[in-house]
């Protein structure tokens, strides 16, 4: 039986409708697109993207101004019976990053469809735009949702939006990759749902805020969380459940790859973050945290080496995604708070989220650049791309700038992030994590320089472009790469904006 008085009520803030709009605007565009032809769909996508970007910026600014989270209670039914939406500082940052990358990739795709070599054709462009709106809405729902089942529906929306993106070009290999992705994702969703069911059986509610007050470290809770985290690990492609990602992300069209690698795999990670830091009992932080970090370390080392061995550019970038996601999981043992310092005040929290944001921008830039390269030369075999920088200097530059974040070299968001994580690892005595971070950077340099040195060398026979160079597309890639570099100018200390709206205590404390 729920203690009625103790259930903290959600107090809706006046600007809460912004949250609803950020969810429903892409949905409305999606539904309208189904009713209209290709040209109207283009217009709808444009307007919805611009509006959603503006919305996310307004939400972020409001949170900065008021210093509080934005809250909305749906239908005026208070949880636990009803559902609430909530955006704190961390969620706002993710909403903005999502909007920026979606707008950039949407523009890239729009221009690419109009190219003479582009598909221009109804099926690919219409389906892409509809799926893009669905993924956007799903991502927003994951970042601001507060109810475990609402988050499950959001995850399913995300999966159904992302899977058909993989096989848009219609080839057999991409269809197989999409099917494998779907099966891993479904397994993950079902395990997550199982955990949610066990939690409801134990506590009678699915609302995260109420649950964080009730969480008492029962075995049933640990079993439920274990199922949920295992399912979310499959969806975020952590080693050894990463096998589906490289073929799926490399087979998708470049704009879709950018969305998948930059954003879609980050949403399940964000959920793991919320579940463990808000619900998990204190004793598990040592065991589960180190376990996740160990898997993260294996991801970094193993998949970075795999990336070095790849022959194709897009596959290399996809393996690099799995490796860089491993860095995120190092947050768990490092962002452990103490009695006086909640986890979101630690440098590891800032480091991990900065890694998430800068990797998103850098990886999107790299996939878009790789897409231009593959389009212009009609292939992406690294061996045969000697000297491509002479034909595509902007793409090569964008690729290199993005690579700075992966390697952790200044100036870049990736450098600041890895520096923060490294400092946290050394300060807390996790020497093996510090060693992994350093080694990961070195191996990343291996695969990035492999491409860049080849790009700027002079081949015996100059490379002949098969198709005209799409300058506009290159510039989008460059813009995203510059954004990743700009993140590097954040100071090397905890970013206080990320702490807005977070509670003052957490159970994920050092025992």
């Amino acid at each position: 039986m729920l203690p009625q008085a103790a259930a903290a009520a959600y107090i809706a803030t006046s600007d809460g409708l912004l949250l609803v709009l950020s969810l429903m605007l892409p949905v409305a565009a999606l539904l309208a697109s189904l009713l209209t032809g290709a040209r109207a769909t283009k217009f709808l996508t444009f307007t919805a993207s611009a509006a959603a970007l503006a919305l996310s910026v307004i939400i972020a600014v409001r949170i900065a101004q008021t210093g509080e989270a934005i809250v909305y209670v749906l239908g005026a039914w208070q949880p636990p019976l009803g559902l609430a939406l909530r955006a704190d500082g961390t969620a706002a940052v993710l909403l903005v990053i999502t909007s920026v990358i979606m707008c950039a990739t949407g523009l890239y795709a729009h221009w690419q469809f109009d190219l003479p070599s582009g598909t221009g054709d109804s099926r690919v462009s219409t389906v892409f735009r509809i799926l893009m709106m669905a993924v956007w809405s799903a991502l927003n729902a994951v970042f601001i949702g507060q109810d475990l089942f609402n988050l499950y529906v959001a995850l399913e929306l995300l999966t159904f939006g992302a899977v058909p993106l993989v096989c848009l070009d219609g080839r057999a290999e991409t269809v197989a990759a999409a099917l494998r992705y779907l099966m891993f994702a479904l397994l993950g969703s079902l395990l997550y749902l199982l955990g949610a069911g066990l939690i409801y059986s134990t506590y009678g509610t699915l609302d995260l805020k109420i649950l964080s007050g009730l969480a008492d470290g029962r075995p049933a809770l640990s079993v439920a969380l274990a199922f949920m985290v295992a399912g979310l690990l499959a969806k975020s492609a952590l080693f050894p459940l990463h096998l589906w990602l490289p073929p799926a992300h490399s087979g998708a069209p470049p704009a879709a790859s950018a969305i998948l690698s930059a954003l879609v795999v980050k949403a399940p990670f964000f959920l793991i973050l919320r579940l463990l830091f808000d619900l998990a009992p204190a004793i598990s932080s040592r065991f589960a945290g180190q376990g996740l970090a160990a898997l993260g370390a294996l991801s970094i080392l193993f998949c970075s080496i795999m990336a070095v061995r790849q022959e194709r550019l897009k596959l290399m970038v996809a393996y690099s995604t799995v490796a860089q996601i491993g860095y995120l999981f190092l947050m768990f043992p490092l962002a452990v708070g103490t009695d006086v310092l909640p986890p979101w005040h630690t440098i590891a929290w800032t480091g991990g989220l900065l890694q998430l944001a800068s990797h998103a921008l850098a990886k999107a830039a790299m996939f878009l650049a790789a897409g231009v390269i593959a389009d212009v030369f009609a292939h992406d075999r690294i061996r045969e791309l000697r000297g491509f920088a002479h034909v595509l200097p902007v793409s090569a530059f964008a690729f290199g700038l993005g690579g700075l974040s992966l390697m952790g070299l200044p100036p870049s968001g990736g450098f600041t992030a890895k520096c923060l994580l490294l400092t946290a690892a050394i300060v807390e005595g996790y020497w093996w994590i510090a060693a992994t971070i350093s080694a990961g950077g070195v191996i990343a340099a291996g695969y990035v320089f492999r491409v860049i040195s080849r790009a700027f060398s002079t081949p015996d026979l100059p490379l002949i472009p098969q198709r005209p160079v799409p300058r506009k597309l290159e510039r989008i890639a460059l813009a995203l790469a510059l954004a990743a570099v700009a993140l590097g100018f954040l100071p090397l200390q905890p970013f206080t904006y990320l702490q807005v709206g977070r509670p003052s205590v957490s159970t994920w404390a050092a025992p």
Binding site: F160, V175, M183, L193, E311
Partner: protein, 114 residues
């Protein structure tokens, strides 16, 4: 804590068995269509766990807690949508390649294909 040996517990136990069986079929069965059936088995087991919570939540005036029931209805519909998408992908794969088996992934070998 004495649990009544009633419909809720028996069906809950059969639900947990279905979860295990479904997982085993998904992981080990070689044919994709059977794996899809396995997903439905897993889903059915998970829904039964929700159903146990519904039955146990019965109160004066209500035979069962309505919230888990509503969640299961939503879950059944979503599970059907997932099955439909998976089957469409499977059929397309069969159309394009003549085989409905997912080729096993090379154990992280570097790709030599163009």
């Amino acid at each position: 804590m004495t649990t009544p040996f009633d419909a809720a517990m028996l069906l809950g136990l059969s639900g947990s068995a279905l979860i295990g069986i479904g997982l085993f079929v998904i992981i080990t069965h070689p044919r994709v269509l059977r794996k899809i059936v396995g997903f439905n088995l897993l889903g059915a087991g998970i829904f039964l766990v929700f159903g146990v919570a519904a039955k146990r939540g019965a109160m004066a005036g209500l035979a069962g807690d309505p919230v888990p029931q509503a969640l299961v209805i939503t879950g059944i519909v979503v599970a059907f949508a997932a099955t439909a998408l998976a089957i469409a992908l499977l059929k397309r794969l069969f159309e394009l390649t003549g085989s409905s088996d997912l080729a096993p992934l090379p154990p992280d070998a570097s790709s030599r294909r163009t």
